[in-house]
């Protein structure tokens, strides 16, 4: 036993009811301790649609619940305006629903005192233009939207203010009774890694769907059955009002606008375990089908994620699903022979305050406390002063001001003060939900406080005697920090909405980790673990919806965190340099390509019947589609051979967001490639692009890009070598990544040999934390035990309060003479402290080689760039070089051209089409290189269970069940099946059918459109793009 605490009431459950009860009790002056097994609001209080019921939904079936709802609805709107958005709600009668239900429902609403007012459909369509025009009737009711996270957070803050103690991550392991009377509980505090004994007079079980499990600890059987409901969160707000289907409650009835997202639900599936919040794709698809009756374009909207919550249905008579009552119950266990314990369960979010009031009434009665309930009268959070609001308006982004105010509640002043303390505290860590660094740090301090409070030495109040404090074993920092790495980012997400918007953490996760590392609170000892944990949690909600826009976002995420930052890969162990073995097995196979075969029709390719209108563009021998690394390399290669070449682009290509290094092959089947990666080609599957091309083609392409990049001075250095394999270079996430060609001055030997390394960041550069990098590196074998010195350089660019500084801004500044001087001057100040310097990718975009050599001359020690997330300064350098070369070669580049299809005859492509109807301008050529990218570049289109290549509509065989597209874990040891999806080609890079027969004779595929490899987990993306592009261009 680590510690004993004493209080009057223990409340189990940190959802709305539990925190509401803690608030209620403490406002009556009753000391209480709340124990929650996870974070506050991690259960059903955040896993519901966010509808504050008017009661109209229950009016017909359950008038008592309906009356409760309307009364609570009015109270919550009054006491918690920060948590409630007064949207109003509509009940809409869809064409397929029974019109006879409407009068019954109207009468029931009237009976329950719920105002329901008819709106003419024409008026309704004007107000909600996205709604289906088939809707027959619309009625307005006083529904509202409620934010569960905020409501629970503010209740907890208010409870604490009144003296309650709240312990998240503290799971009750035993309920102690003496002679049929509750005397306390035993709990395991996971944050502090200790067991606590809490003595109490009364125990309240407010654990929702877990109530049965908790009651069982006291030997009581409860008829609580968990019932799972699925919800879909959409990326934008497509309705301003809550839209209910006017019918008997069924699946997919409710749409709730929630800040800037829309939540749609729900389903009702009885489950055995309240922790069973898994989501099945078919359940989500069924919901979408239901929802289309109300919003016909629902499938066009981006779904952010799917999530499920488990409702606690109280059904002693074994009713389940929609037939079970939504009413709450207070179960006094005294009649069961157990004194001092009661359970509150069932019910719904809307009535949480009433549930808390009722159970607190019972507890107060048993404890002989006469103080009445005050929760219906006192506002949850006092109104902030006008002056504070004026200050807040100056430091929060305009659009973000109000959400931040509402989220922060009692912490508003702290966040405002933080934002005022330094200009970069106004930086947006989360640009999708507009969370500033100041707000994030304020929330981090709050979370850290909670963790600390759960630790005995920091717990004030009764029962915390000095003797006990001495006895308590303070958990080691290591242990606590390990725990933080697992939970901190998710805890902060629930408080701030960070990572809950469009990019689902793609950009803010690293920034948040960086901000924590720089802030001293909750700093992660293991930053990669922290990021992985957070992204895994985001993945759970996306995985069942792996198609279309969701999948594109996932590919971006894999590009950043896996391909660029390698937070998934196992760290390397440096082998002794292996002796060079000479020619490897795959070399020299290029010459042996079979001659192309002609395939005549019948291959499933579209043959357009219409003749295309001429674009007037003619005389091109080669057309390359796609302006990424593969497309640019292909166009250069074709033009270098004297072919008249045209490059068609639709978007700037992923060189702008990649890491900017050229990687060949870092991992093979999840294991680091320790030998020469080119020799490792022999272990690849035969359909892998490298296996198809062979070593010579790869080596030639590498030589090509290096030569091109180094025309004006060394800009792309060969860091890896055939003798010692890949170079393992530091990334801004604090990992090492296997690389072949890297930025200026990269010298892995110098890095390895340096006894001390300074890592320099720039104030306000939110994507780069020197402390996070240094901490990560110190955990690698290479850097363990070395002196790693994080340094923060003052920002050279005045923070204007508008755009946050990016590495690209700094690189552009470094390109100017004063920028180069600034770099030399600032880095010179720290040069004496280290033997090598690591900086973000800021050494210029155009004049990199010059900047680097000037730095070398000034500092006299190696300076290298870490591999950074987007904006990809290093990638832009390569892009710039390739585009310059295209200009020298007089290659025409046509921007903004979307190729919709192609005219194919007798296995040859005649021209590319630019409009879906084939009537747009056509682009004819002799041969074509298709480098349109994968899912992210729109070279591959996906829908539930289906994938095809986007120009020739080549089918890509994928499992019908979306669940089989991916592994359960995002950072799985195996490649996800979807990751290797792409066009199958032969050794000439011509597409082939399932029998290996060539289907297009004059079309080559290059880059991410190709199948058979996983750019992200293998760390092979830039290498494959470069080599296949180079090869295809040379053959075309």
């Amino acid at each position: 036993m680590n510690k004993t605490l004493k209080t009057r009431v223990v409340v189990i459950g940190g959802g709305a009811t539990g925190t509401g009860t803690a608030r209620d009790l403490s406002m009556r002056g009753i000391p209480c301790i709340l124990l929650e097994q996870g974070d506050l609001c991690a259960g059903a209080s955040s896993r519901f649609h966010g509808l504050l019921h008017s009661g109209a939904r229950y009016a017909v079936g359950d008038p008592e619940a309906a009356r409760e709802c309307i009364s609570e609805n009015r109270i919550l709107r009054r006491i918690a305006p920060n948590c409630v958005e007064k949207t109003e709600g509509w009940f809409t009668l869809c064409a397929q629903d029974d019109p006879a239900y409407a009068p019954v429902w109207l009468a029931a609403c009237a009976h329950c005192g719920i105002a329901a007012q008819e709106i003419a459909p024409a008026k309704a369509f004007e107000l909600e233009p996205n709604m289906s025009r088939d809707i027959k009737a619309v009625y307005r009711v006083p529904d509202s939207a409620v934010d569960g996270f905020r409501m629970v957070g503010h209740n907890a803050a208010s409870a604490r203010l009144h003296g309650a103690r709240i312990y998240p991550y503290t799971r009750v392991t035993d309920i102690i009774t003496e002679q049929g009377r509750i005397v306390g509980v035993l709990a395991q505090n996971r944050a502090a890694g200790e067991t606590i004994r809490i003595e109490c007079e009364y125990l309240i079980n407010a654990s929702g769907a877990w109530a049965g499990q908790v009651a069982a600890l006291a030997g009581i059987t409860l008829g609580v059955s968990p019932d799972r409901g699925l919800l879909l969160a959409f990326n934008h707000r497509f309705t301003d009002r809550i839209i209910n289907r006017l019918r008997k409650s069924q699946d997919g009835d409710i749409f709730v606008p929630h800040g800037n997202i829309t939540i749609f639900g729900t389903t009702s599936v009885p489950v055995d375990n309240p922790d069973d919040t898994g989501v099945e794709t078919k359940e989500a698809l069924r919901l979408l089908e239901e929802g289309e009756a109300v919003f016909p374009r629902l499938r066009d909207y981006r779904i952010l994620r799917a999530f499920a919550g488990t409702r606690p249905l109280y059904s002693p008579d074994a009713a389940s699903g929609r037939s079970a009552t939504r009413n709450f119950v207070i179960l006094d266990h005294e009649p069961d022979g157990l004194e001092g314990m009661a359970t509150v369960t069932g019910g719904k979010f809307t009535s949480f305050r009433l549930m808390a009031e009722k159970i607190s009434n019972l507890a107060a009665k048993r404890l002989d406390v006469a103080a009445p309930c005050r929760t219906a009268q006192e506002p949850l959070v006092p109104e902030p002063s006008k002056r504070l609001l004026r200050r807040a308006a100056k430091v929060f982004p305009l659009a973000g001001a109000d959400p931040a105010l509402a989220r922060l509640g009692l912490d508003l002043e702290k966040a405002v003060a933080a934002a005022e303390s330094a200009p970069w505290k106004k930086n947006l860590l989360c640009e999708c939900e507009m969370v500033t660094r100041a707000e994030f740090e304020t929330a981090a301090a709050e979370v850290a406080g909670q963790y600390a409070k759960a630790r005995p030495e920091a717990s004030p109040g009764e029962g915390n005697s000095p003797s006990l404090r001495q006895k308590a074993n303070a958990p080691s920092a290591e242990k606590t920090h390990g725990f933080h790495a697992l939970t901190a980012l998710n805890d902060l997400r629930r408080r701030t909405r960070m990572g809950m918007g469009t990019c689902q953490g793609n950009f803010c996760a690293l920034r948040a980790g960086a901000a924590l590392a720089e802030s001293d609170v909750l700093h992660p000892l293991d930053p990669q673990k922290m990021l992985r944990e957070f992204l895994e949690e985001r993945w759970r909600g996306i995985r069942p919806l792996l198609w279309g826009k969701q999948l594109r976002e996932v590919e971006l995420e894999r590009g950043i965190y896996m391909a660029s930052l390698n937070i998934d890969g196992r760290p390397p162990q440096y082998p002794d340099p292996a002796p060079y073995t000479g020619e490897d097995a795959t070399a020299g196979k290029n010459a042996a390509f079979p001659p192309p075969r002609t395939v005549h029709g019948g291959n499933g390719l579209p043959v357009s019947g219409k003749s295309a209108s001429s674009s007037g563009v003619e005389g091109y021998e080669v057309i390359v589609v796609g302006a990424g690394l593969a497309g640019l390399a292909a166009a250069v290669s074709a033009a270098e051979r004297g072919r008249k070449t045209l490059l068609l682009s639709n978007g700037a290509g992923t060189l702008s967001i990649g890491g900017g290094t050229i990687d060949i092959l870092g991992y093979l089947k999840g294991e680091p490639v320790r030998e020469d990666p080119i020799s490792a080609f022999k272990s690849l599957e035969p359909e892998h692009p490298y296996a198809l091309l062979g070593a010579d083609a790869v080596l030639e392409a590498l030589e090509f890009i290096q030569k091109l990049s180094n025309e004006e001075g060394e800009c792309l250095v060969q860091a890896g070598s055939r003798e010692s394999g890949n170079a393992w270079l530091p990334t801004s996430a604090g990992t090492l990544k296997p690389v072949w060609l890297a930025g200026p001055g990269t010298d892995p030997a110098a890095l390895r040999c340096a006894r001390s390394l300074a890592v320099a960041g720039v104030e306000g550069l939110k994507d780069f934390s020197p402390r996070m990098l240094a901490r990560g590196l110190s955990q690698t074998e290479t850097f363990a035990g070395k002196s790693l010195l994080p340094v923060m350089l003052p920002s050279p660019l005045a923070h204007s309060g508008e755009r946050d500084l990016s590495s690209l801004d700094l690189a552009r500044f470094a390109d100017s003479p004063e920028g180069t001087d600034w770099l030399c001057r600032e880095l010179a100040k720290i040069a004496a402290k280290a033997q090598a310097l690591l900086v973000p990718a800021i050494l210029g975009v155009c004049g990199t080689a010059g900047i680097h050599s000037k730095l070398l001359a000034t500092l006299g020690l190696p300076v290298m760039e870490a591999i950074c997330p987007p904006p990809a300064v290093a990638g832009l350098r390569i892009q710039r070089k390739l585009r310059e070369r295209l200009r020298e070669l007089s290659v025409s580049v046509f921007d903004n051209i979307e190729i919709s299809g192609a005219r194919v005859e007798n296995g040859r492509c005649l021209w590319l089409e630019t409009q879906k109807d084939g009537k747009g301008p056509a682009y004819p050529a002799e041969s074509f290189v298709i480098a349109t990218g994968g899912v992210f570049g729109n070279g591959i289109n996906t829908s539930p269970g289906k994938a095809f290549e986007s120009i020739f509509k080549l089918p890509l065989p994928m499992p019908e069940r979306t669940e089989e597209w991916s592994e359960t874990l995002f950072f799985a040891s195996k490649s996800h099946p979807f990751a290797r999806m792409g066009v199958a080609v032969n050794k000439e890079l011509h597409p082939v059918d399932e029998n290996g027969a060539q289907v297009l004779d004059n079309v080559f595929f290059a880059g991410k459109t190709l199948g058979g490899y996983d750019f992200a987990s293998e760390k092979s993306g830039s290498g494959v793009a470069l080599c296949t592009g180079r090869f295809a261009g040379a053959k075309a």
Partner: protein, 398 residues
């Protein structure tokens, strides 16, 4: 609740490639960048939040849309948001001035150029304009001689034409010769060209100034004429890539709520003439290349049109003609953006790259399809600038 494709930010993945390729963002930290002001803020605008003042820095050059891998109409998001923002905050005098430049041009059209230019370019006017928000250093274009403007007007002949030219305000008032050169080329190819007098400004300057309703009104007027022309299968050609972009792509998107506005397949002149050459209706056989080296700058809106660089294609086919594609990014002017106070410096910084390339090229003449690009090229580099099709016409002249 707003609805439609320009209020649906769902295609954006937040990758921010647009911000990396935004010329304004590269020139000033005061602009939050297209990703934030466009799709990211749209989610907040849909939730009823007010916009950010940083939005005014968007120049609507459309490089964001060209760079976007997801097909998000980012600049259109910005323009609609700006329209709403300025409706709430009042329109700046300078936006009224630059937005209505077409109307002002029309009003002044009976006056001779020396009077107009003396009136516009004197110190007093410029300092008054400066106070109204037009930077006094800005290279306001000079009115063309009355005779030239009249020659273009006379092309409205009420004949039964088989091609209609949408001249655009710049050609009408400042550079009728460019339009006349194109008409000459079209006539050589056998077309009877009409320049309908009823055509009004395409609406783009109004839109970028936040004057959405005024732009919509003009789009309606033009749509009516365009529809009539479409009925009779009469092609429409514009010497101005921005006008062509508006007519061809933007009308249908920006004004989708107005049933009386539609996109119409108007062609940019170079694109159309390249087609004529391909069909053999116009021959380059007798073209004589000018001796001077030419420096070509592709207007951003031409790139946004997605037709390649047709005029450059044509010039490259003239034997012996020396033309170099500057490929140096945006010139900065973006219509009237670079004239505005507070934006002049931004525009000049954006154009630095191009100005340097032009100066270093050794060319005697700069070329660009866009009128205001030409003004800015001359302002920034000192090089005179012409429409590339004027060069074609000159080389075909016997």
């Amino acid at each position: 609740m707003k609805s439609g494709a320009l209020h649906n930010p769902d295609d954006c993945t937040a990758c921010a490639i647009c911000t990396m390729h935004c010329p304004v963002a590269a020139a000033t930290l005061k602009f939050r960048g297209p990703k934030l002001t466009g799709p990211a803020y749209e989610r907040f605008r849909l939730s009823g939040f007010e916009d950010d003042a940083s939005l005014e820095y968007c120049s609507n050059c459309k490089n964001c849309e060209i760079a976007c891998p997801s097909g998000v109409p980012i600049a259109d998001f910005n323009m609609l948001a700006r329209a709403e923002y300025s409706t709430g905050h009042g329109h700046a005098a300078r936006d009224m001035l630059t937005g209505h430049s077409g109307d002002l041009g029309k009003l002044s059209s009976p006056l001779p150029a020396f009077l107009l230019n003396a009136g516009m370019k004197n110190r007093l006017t410029r300092s008054l304009l400066d106070r109204a928000g037009i930077d006094k250093r800005a290279p306001l274009p000079a009115f063309a001689p009355l005779s030239e403007r009249r020659r273009l007007r006379k092309k409205n002949r009420g004949l039964k034409p088989d091609l209609a030219l949408f001249p655009g305000c710049f050609a009408r008032y400042y550079d009728p010769n460019a339009a006349l050169d194109i008409i000459c080329l079209l006539e050589t190819a056998g077309y009877t060209v009409d320049v309908p007098d009823e055509f009004v400004c395409c609406g783009l300057p109004l839109l970028t100034g936040g004057l959405y309703e005024a732009a919509r009104k003009r789009a309606r007027i033009n749509s009516k004429i365009l529809a009539r022309l479409a009925e009779n299968n009469i092609p429409v050609v514009s010497p101005c890539p921005s006008c062509a972009l508006m007519l061809r792509h933007e009308y249908g998107k920006l004004f989708s709520s107005d049933a009386r506005v539609n996109s119409y397949p108007a062609s940019e002149a170079g694109d159309f003439i390249l087609g004529l050459i391909a069909q053999g209706r116009l021959s380059l056989k007798n073209a004589r290349a000018p001796r001077d080296l030419l420096a070509y700058h592709a207007p951003c809106h031409l790139r946004a049109l997605g037709v390649g660089l047709p005029a450059l294609e044509i010039l490259k086919r003239i034997p012996g003609l020396q033309v170099e594609n500057m490929d140096a990014g945006c010139c900065g002017i973006s219509g009237s953006y670079g004239f505005k106070k507070g934006k002049y410096e931004v525009a000049m910084r954006i154009g630095q790259n191009l100005f340097r390339s032009l100066k270093d090229s050794g060319a005697k003449i700069g070329l660009s399809e866009c009128g205001t690009c030409r003004v800015q090229m001359t302002h920034g580099s000192g090089l005179p600038a012409a429409h590339p099709l004027s060069i074609l016409r000159a080389s075909l002249a016997k």
